[in-house]
């Protein structure tokens, strides 16, 4: 996987494009992208949520999941190949699972609301929306943590620093000779 990462990123990208095309050509429903509020100018409404999700709900969820997978893969691409250890891959895998859980909670919470018309609240928002708002924000925090805390282990190690300084010194020497 470590050296084939770009191929996996490419395949995920192609799958996302394919889903997007499938959604664009799927059976459309009226006002699928929202409609004007019947009474208040300037406001948009979503209207019938169940109808809007009928043909593309699962595809949308799949697109969301692939996007999260792509984010993790791209983050790994930013780590030099030799530092993509099993430990790091396991950590990134855990982060992905957490992000997927957040995506599932918001999607299933929305579906549940569409079926029951009832929702709980968390910190000011309906539960599914709270997952979207706080969960999405927090979902990438493990990436921030590993970048900051693991900077000297995965991103720019003392060995990297030495190699880079050598490269700079050679470059400077070459320029001085010229």
């Amino acid at each position: 996987m470590r050296s084939k990462l770009i191929y996996i990123i490419f395949v995920v990208g192609v799958l996302m494009a394919a889903i997007l095309i499938t959604i664009i050509v799927a059976e459309n429903v009226p006002n699928s992208g929202g409609a004007a509020h019947p009474e208040i100018a300037g406001l948009q409404i979503g209207g019938d949520g169940a109808a809007r999700m009928e043909y593309i709900g699962t595809l949308g969820l799949a697109f969301h999941c692939l996007l999260l997978v792509q984010i993790i893969l791209l983050s790994l691409l930013g780590v030099s190949e030799r530092y993509r250890s099993n430990g790091l891959i396991a950590y990134m895998g855990g982060t992905l699972v957490f992000m997927l859980l957040v995506a599932w909670q918001m999607y299933s919470g929305h579906q549940q609301f569409l079926e029951t018309d009832e929702t709980g609240y968390f910190l000011g928002f309906p539960t599914a929306t709270a997952w979207a708002t706080y969960g999405t924000w927090i979902g990438a925090i493990p990436l921030i943590l590993i970048y900051s805390i693991g900077f000297r282990k995965y991103i720019y190690t003392p060995e990297d620093e030495k190699k880079y300084n050598e490269l700079l010194a050679e470059k400077t020497e070459l320029m001085e000779q010229q």
Partner: protein, 498 residues
């Protein structure tokens, strides 16, 4: 105190503008060459870079258009904000280290310089420079127009300036912007960004507390009112729907690492290791400032539905109406200063990269060498660029209101689609080729222009920007895989091994 509301607001904004002018004068003494002018000589500390990075991310759109979008389409607009942690993380993982290394190794002063060094191609440099100039014109015109409209709204509330014209406001606001950008270049820009960022954090935090107290039941009462009116508006994907929301996640999340005015800042830190503190600090600042975006939008939508406030003439009035109805004058003064800070911090970044593209990169890609006396011409072109953008903004406002909007919308999406694959992926993958880069940039420009100019809309809220971004990513990797593996310059090859 309410009797002096307008005077307090005007005073706060005036103090802020004087500060910008003084910073320009101070920074002029520290600007000796083009490296100082464009990238602050790669000598900035982590706090300065962090604040400059986040304040440039949150433009006037975040303070005016953002709350207006939440007011108009509900939670859908949250997806431009809540993806910030992802966006910053991707930006740092993919870009921060490598762009800083190439910048020092090859003495680069602009993003097209970086790209030319990575690909060894003047064609790619030229295409990135042209993309930047096109995007900058739209962005800059939008920011200048927003600044002038807000200034007119503030000043016309006072007896002395009741009849002030939009043209006068464009001239005043542009003059301040031009002054500190021309005198102090990026040094003035980043140090004003520090104060601008601090003001934005304070404004965002105070506004959240104010917004939560507008309804007795807090934010939950506000969202309940919206839910009773139209549940979808306050459900996770908002009124615009699932694909529109996920499209913004893609374009604003991943796309952040393709924004030239942001990633150029990653070339400016003194120490590479500072990146590990810059990332969390930038994100913290952005989250605090963006609280304003979400809280004002939700409260204003609920207030209008509940009849507390009459319907707004325009969604973009959400922030200004909120400030005049629900905040005390001192807070309104801070937020209006914060608004100017948001607009100016983005505008100065655009002026900087646009100027670099015009005087440094386009000549270099055509003639193979820079023009003489770059610092002088940088200052001249900064003035010309700002005047052209201001004129363009006014022309669009009075003659063809769609022009600025089209180029403004064109900006972020085109940068994301055109620059992200070439820079963010290309700096981390030795197999990326010139053909892949040229194809990706061309596809991004073509799809974005066609969908914007022709007003093409897709079902389910799928945007042209999303289509362009997904296409350019696939084409960039796909074309690179099928074209001949490039031979990299020795230093670039070794740098990419690090």
């Amino acid at each position: 105190m309410d009797a002096f509301r307008q005077e307090i607001i005007v005073g706060a904004v005036a103090v802020y503008m004087v500060f910008c002018v003084l910073t320009g004068l101070w920074a002029m003494r520290r600007t000796h060459n083009t490296s100082d002018f464009f990238i602050a000589g790669r000598g900035l500390g982590p706090i300065v870079v962090a604040l400059a990075l986040f304040s440039s991310t949150l433009s006037g759109f975040g303070f005016v258009g953002g709350p207006g979008l939440v007011y108009s389409i509900g939670v859908s607009s949250f997806w431009m904000v809540v993806i910030s942690s992802t966006g910053y993380a991707i930006g740092f993982f993919l870009v921060a280290k490598r762009i800083r290394m190439i910048a020092e190794l090859r003495d680069c002063i602009s993003l097209p310089d970086i790209v030319a060094a990575r690909y060894g191609s003047q064609s790619v440099r030229f295409m990135i420079a042209v993309t930047i100039v096109l995007g900058v014109m739209g962005y800059l015109a939008t920011q200048i127009l927003a600044m002038a409209v807000v200034m007119q709204a503030i000043l016309s509330g006072t007896a002395t300036f009741a009849n002030i014209s939009l043209v006068t406001c464009v001239v005043i606001s542009s003059a301040v912007l031009i002054f500190y950008c021309v005198t102090g270049g990026i040094i003035a820009s980043v140090y004003t960004d520090v104060v601008q960022g601090a003001i934005m954090i304070v404004a965002g935090t105070l506004i959240l507390f104010t917004a939560v107290n507008v309804f007795d039941g807090g934010m939950q009462e506000a969202t309940s009112i919206i839910l009773a009116d139209d549940a979808e508006a306050v459900m996770p994907y908002g009124a615009a729907g699932m694909l529109a929301s996920l499209g913004w996640f893609f374009v604003f999340g991943l796309g952040l690492a393709g924004q030239p005015h942001l990633i150029t800042k990653m070339m400016m830190n003194k120490e590479m290791a500072d990146n590990r503190t810059i990332l969390p600090m930038s994100l913290f600042g952005y989250v605090m400032a963006a609280l304003l975006w979400i809280s004002i939008g939700i409260v204003m939508r609920a207030a209008v539905i509940d009849g507390v406030v009459p319907p707004l003439a325009l969604p973009d009035d959400a922030a200004s109406v909120f400030l005049s109805v629900f905040t005390n004058p001192l807070l309104a003064g801070v937020v209006f200063a914060g608004l100017f800070a948001a607009i100016m911090s983005t505008s100065d970044a655009f002026l900087n990269i646009g100027t670099a593209a015009i005087i440094h990169d386009i000549p270099k890609s055509i003639r193979g060498k820079s023009i003489n006396n770059e610092l002088f011409w940088a200052r001249v072109v900064t003035i010309i660029l700002a005047i052209v953008a201001a004129s363009f903004a006014l022309y669009s406002h009075y003659r063809d209101a769609t022009l600025v909007a089209i180029l403004g919308a064109f900006g972020w999406g085109t940068f994301a689609a055109g620059i992200f694959p070439v820079v963010a992926v290309g700096l981390n993958w030795k197999g990326a080729t010139v053909a892949g880069a040229v194809t990706a940039i061309s596809a991004a420009l073509l799809i974005n222009f066609v969908t914007q100019l022709a007003g093409v809309t897709f079902p389910y809220g799928v945007s042209g920007q999303l289509a362009a971004f997904v296409t350019s990513m696939v084409l960039f990797i796909g074309v690179s895989l099928v074209t001949k593996k490039p031979v990299l310059d020795s230093d670039i090859n070794r740098m990419m091994d690090i």
